[in-house]
Amino acid sequence: MVPRVRSFPRAVLWVVFLVGLPGAGWPSQLEVAPRRVEIGAFFGGKEVVVSAEIPPLADAVVELVGEDVAEALVRKGRIGPLWMNVGEIVAQGFPTLYMVASTSSFLLAGGDGSGSWGYGKLREQARLGESGGMEESDSMLQEFIKLKETQGLYKLLPAGVELVSGDETAQSIRARFPLPRCIRPGTYTVSVSAIRGGEVLQRQQTWIEVEMTGFPRFLRSLAEDYPMVYGIMAVVAAMLAGYGLGWLFGGGRGSH
């Protein structure tokens, strides 16, 4: 199994390492568009297209993965007839975004038994909570994935890799990932793995940057660095808008 790359320096080491792997002589080409995603005032999500060349007769798994973070969550449970928050758990080692597409739904479903792809991979690398039996952890993992899926942050695309062209030396593939509107700024790893007979023949990797720009960036900085100024500004803006609209509506009548 090839470990997942989580940071830039480690990624550089991986590229050096992969060049030395057997099979590094396979056709290699990986392109991502766009490479830089800007979160501006009218950002509503963005489609990222990954194009690559892989060895012939190989299956492809294309992943788009965010940085790992620790998140505090609340667990809901039933007390008497009422559902409420009954405890806190910590999710560790889960990426902020996990999208994976493949030519084979079999691979993403863990059919090869390796657990290297899809949500099986998360089960291997991440942990939920501090203790508890495996059964409970499994159900919590499913709930965690469901929570992320509802936000569009986790997605399995079993038939999401399109074969564009192919011959006896190489095949060109393409995958499309819909970045959700709630994506966080940061570095996201794009990797393409070519698999044949359960063996990883080739793994290519690159990165995309997601950045907040323009007015949203200005407001975010103001709210974080000068919260009192931001709060007063928010109140003044609201009062002016409310008064202005009130004046606009009733100004001409002079009613009392």
């Binding site: 709060g231 009062m239 609209l245």
Partner: protein
């Protein structure tokens, strides 16, 4: 469809949808004198805004809606400033105490339960009372009931209110009461509002109508005046303490809500007081039922982000 990015919420939303939601809540604000926090916050959460950002940004948009609404009612002579200031002072005292209660409950791990149960109990009680009373009044039972009650001895509440010191006249409302009464009632509303995380308009309005015996149209304007200052305080405190006020979200909502509040204020002059009360009671009861169902029915996902409701 115009997607607008909300930098503090960390997500985007359709500007038309947000304006529509703002207009709906602003209409209620202008009609009934409630801030609409009890309705807007759940609506925002439903479209994917994080709960803490939804609650804080809603306070900011209520500042605009209540500025607009207070101004409209002031022009129509519907704001009792003397009563409003006393209720506000009481509200601030109660709100400060409520924040301490919430801190204590969070320490015990029971805050969510208490918040939701308080919501259901308050909404259920106020909604049912207003609904039944307004229905009886509309059917003409009020006159008979009042005749009957006049023949009897004054109630314990009436005697207690009259026994309070420093009785003073509130000309705009046409009532005479001790300043301790609005101060004390404001304090109770502030306490409940802090626990429930809302402006408290939907509790304040029935209290003004039934306990302070103020006329409905003055109630609406005075309630908006009090809510305006409560929400200014909450917005600034949330921006400083939690950094959860999304001004872009608030500005879009307030565009809709300011227009809605104006329409509501005009409509309120054309609708009879009993009709206004029964409409508000119906909305309060609907929100209560929705909240009760959310407590009783299994949630779709058994995990949530910490900091949400």
């Amino acid at each position: 469809m115009l997607e607008i990015y909300l930098p503090i919420a960390g997500t985007s939303a359709d500007a038309g949808l947000l304006m529509g939601m703002g207009a709906l809540v602003g209409l209620l604000s202008g009609l009934f004198g409630v801030g609409g926090g009890f309705l807007m916050t759940p609506l925002l959460i439903m479209i994917g805004i994080p709960p803490t950002v939804a609650a804080a940004s809603d306070s900011n948009q209520i500042v605009a809606a209540s500025t607009s609404g207070t101004y409209a009612h002031y022009r129509m002579g519907n704001v009792d400033f003397k009563m409003g200031v006393l209720l506000l002072i009481g509200g601030l005292i109660g709100g400060t105490a409520g924040v301490q209660v919430i801190r204590w409950l969070r320490g015990m791990g029971n805050a969510d339960f208490v918040i939701k149960i308080t919501y259901v109990a308050m909404l259920g009680w106020i909604g049912s009372y207003m609904f039944i009373e307004s229905l009886q009044s509309m059917r003409g039972h009020r006159a008979r009931a009042e005749e009957g009650s006049q023949a009897k001895r004054p109630s314990f509440y009436s005697r207690m209110v009259r026994a309070l010191p420093w009785q003073m006249a509130f000309e705009k409302s046409g009532v005479k009461a001790s300043p301790f009464l609005p101060l004390g009632l404001g304090c109770i509303v502030g306490l409940l509002a802090a626990i429930m995380g809302v402006g408290g308009g939907f509790i304040m309005v029935p209290i003004m109508v039934y306990l302070l015996r103020m006329p409905m149209h003055v109630v609406v304007g005075t309630s908006l005046f009090q809510i305006l200052f409560t929400c200014i305080n909450v917005t600034i405190m949330q921006a400083i303490s939690n950094k959860t006020v999304d001004v872009v979200l608030a500005l879009i909502l307030l565009l809709g809500s300011s227009i809605g509040a104006q329409v509501g204020a005009r409509l309120s002059r054309r609708i009879k007081a009993d009709q206004l009360k029964i409409m508000l009671a119906s909305i309060v009861l609907l929100v209560m039922i929705q909240m009760l169902l959310s407590l009783v029915l299994p949630p779709k996902v058994l995990l949530g982000y910490k900091g949400g409701h």
